[in-house]
Amino acid sequence: MTMPRAEQFAFISRVLHWTMAVMVLAMLFIGIAMVASLADYRWLVSIHKPLGILILILVTIRLINRWLINPPPPFPAGMASWDRFAANASILTLYILMFALPLVGWAMLSAAGYPIVLYGPLSLPPIAPQSPMLYAVLRTTHTVLAFMLFATFIGHFSGAMMHALIFRDGVFESMASWKSRSRA
């Protein structure tokens, strides 16, 4: 008897996933370190801004890839319904936050009246009117969303580890394995 196992994600989907995983995790650490730091503030900010925009670009590409080019493989037949719900909810939340955080950050700098310099002479235009109160609201929102992203990441990571080490149903390998697996 052959047990149902998850199919693999497309190669490009896996590349996008792992590239963004590293970037988003780095971004969360840079963000939280930045707001406490003094000596390192300058270089952390100088990475935070362009990296945020890069994530915004990549998540757009990734969503197009997911919707139009390489839809994700179905969950294995044996996967519990609560587990499917948790996986879908965490993935949806991650996508929403990966869009929302850079956009809120960009709008927040716009409302504060800062020039939004990415690198050297490369700047972005403002996307929100200059307003102290709007800045204050967006600034708080940025922090709240960042903590939500970190919490969701922990949930997503825990789920992945459960599939890798406890359920061992191929869900983890569908994203993590670099070998193209023969589908039994």
Partner: protein, 385 residues
């Protein structure tokens, strides 16, 4: 059957369970209790590692660490929380005008605003301290924040003081100074013991104060020389970088402070004098770039550069209008010294990163707070106040 079961490197199949049917739910062989507990432990450990390093990065595990929050809390502790106001340099007056560049800065930096032409400027005069109602006085330093805003070009912000050197050379020094200078409620003056201890711990500050005291303040904002204090790198079109400090040198003649004037009951006499002065015409400063030589300290704002360094007159700053702080004025600008145009980059001075961090923390706190009018009022100004 077991031979047809797909396996991966991560999947450990206990040989003694190999003949068992897999559980219906997930298609994997059952784990022994011990194996299950160990694996759950591994997962828990990994999560703990991630959350732990996140907490470390946030500074939550290092209560002794000097952070931007701690510095701004220190300012609030000394001055009280003054909602809507800057946590330092709380008292101020908005100014506007323009900078006429003469092109002399071009060989040193490719920043567009140094090409010949006029750049609109918005700025703010201030005095140090987190109390927006504190009285002006003869011993009080003066600050100017400036934002050069070339139309369609890159903005340059700066915050300068009328001091030849800065009093501290590190964030820790600044924090220690803020706490040491906290006025004793009984005398209204800092505790002499704290002041003595501060200078003993920071000899660089004691040396800086000696230099500062050797250059007495002028009578007002209009005839004060303002200095960048920190050094920056200017990069020109062919990629040559030069350390530069700069000054705004007044066209108005130096006049020593008049003791009679500082004895006036007007708590805002410095600001009010400027408001009166500008009614008789624009006030101007020459922007003088000081070109550093190899070996000149770029990382220590308490040390002056030798007098014989090359000085470049890069243009004229003209201030032709004053305005009380209010919505849409200089009030809502963070004069962050790291808002720089392409062609100017920060030096290794640790104060620059720390100032940028602390200013942003102050900005973040005050922008969400209810605003109160400034103590400095411009009469008949159409600023809605």
């Amino acid at each position: 059957m077991s031979s047809t079961r797909p396996t991966t490197a991560l999947k450990l199949v206990p040989p003694w369970r190999d003949d068992l049917d897999p559980p219906v739910d997930h298609g994997s062989p059952s784990l022994t209790i011990i194996n299950f507990v160990v694996r759950m432990g591994v997962i828990g450990g990994l999560i703990l590692c991630i959350v732990g390093s996140f907490s470390y990065a946030a500074g939550w595990l290092s209560p002794g660490l000097l952070t931007q929050t701690k510095i701004v809390n220190g300012l609030e502790q000394v001055n009280g929380v003054q909602p809507g106001f800057r946590r330092n340099h709380a008292k101020g007056l908005c100014i506007t005008g323009y900078f006429d560049s003469n092109g002399n800065g071009v060989p040193w930096t490719k920043a567009e605003l140094f090409k010949p032409g006029r750049v609109p400027v918005i700025g703010r005069f201030s005095i140090p301290g987190g109390n927006p109602y504190m009285a002006d006085g003869p011993a009080v330093a003066r600050g100017i924040g400036l934002a050069f805003r070339p139309i369609g070009g890159e903005e340059w912000r700066m915050a300068m003081l009328n001091l030849p050197v800065f009093v501290v050379n590190s964030a820790q020094g600044f924090y220690d100074q803020v706490l040491a200078m906290k006025p004793d409620p009984a005398t209204g003056k800092p505790d002499p013991g704290n002041v003595k201890a501060f200078f003993a711990a920071h000899p660089e500050s004691a040396r800086a104060v000696t230099i500062i005291k050797s250059q007495p303040f002028s009578s007002g904002f209009d005839n004060s020389t303002f200095n960048s204090l920190d050094a920056f790198w200017f990069m020109n079109a062919v990629g040559t970088s030069t350390p530069v400090r700069w000054s705004m040198v007044p066209v108005d003649e130096y006049q020593p402070e008049n003791p009679a004037e500082s004895a006036t009951p007007d708590k805002n006499y410095l600001f009010d004098d400027f408001i009166t002065r500008i009614q008789s015409g624009p006030v101007q400063w020459r922007m003088i770039l000081t070109v550093g030589q190899p070996g000149d300290p770029t990382d220590d704002a308490t040390i002056p550069w030798p007098d014989n360094r090359q000085h470049i007159d890069a243009g004229m700053l003209t201030i032709d209008r004053v305005e009380s702080e209010g919505p849409g004025t200089c009030r809502d600008i963070n004069f962050d010294p790291l808002v720089l145009p392409f062609g100017i980059t920060p030096s290794d001075d640790p104060l620059l990163s720390a100032r940028s961090a602390v200013y942003s923390q102050s900005f973040r706190r005050r922008e969400g707070e209810k605003k109160s009018p400034s103590a400095v009022r411009v009469p008949d100004a159409r600023d809605g106040g």
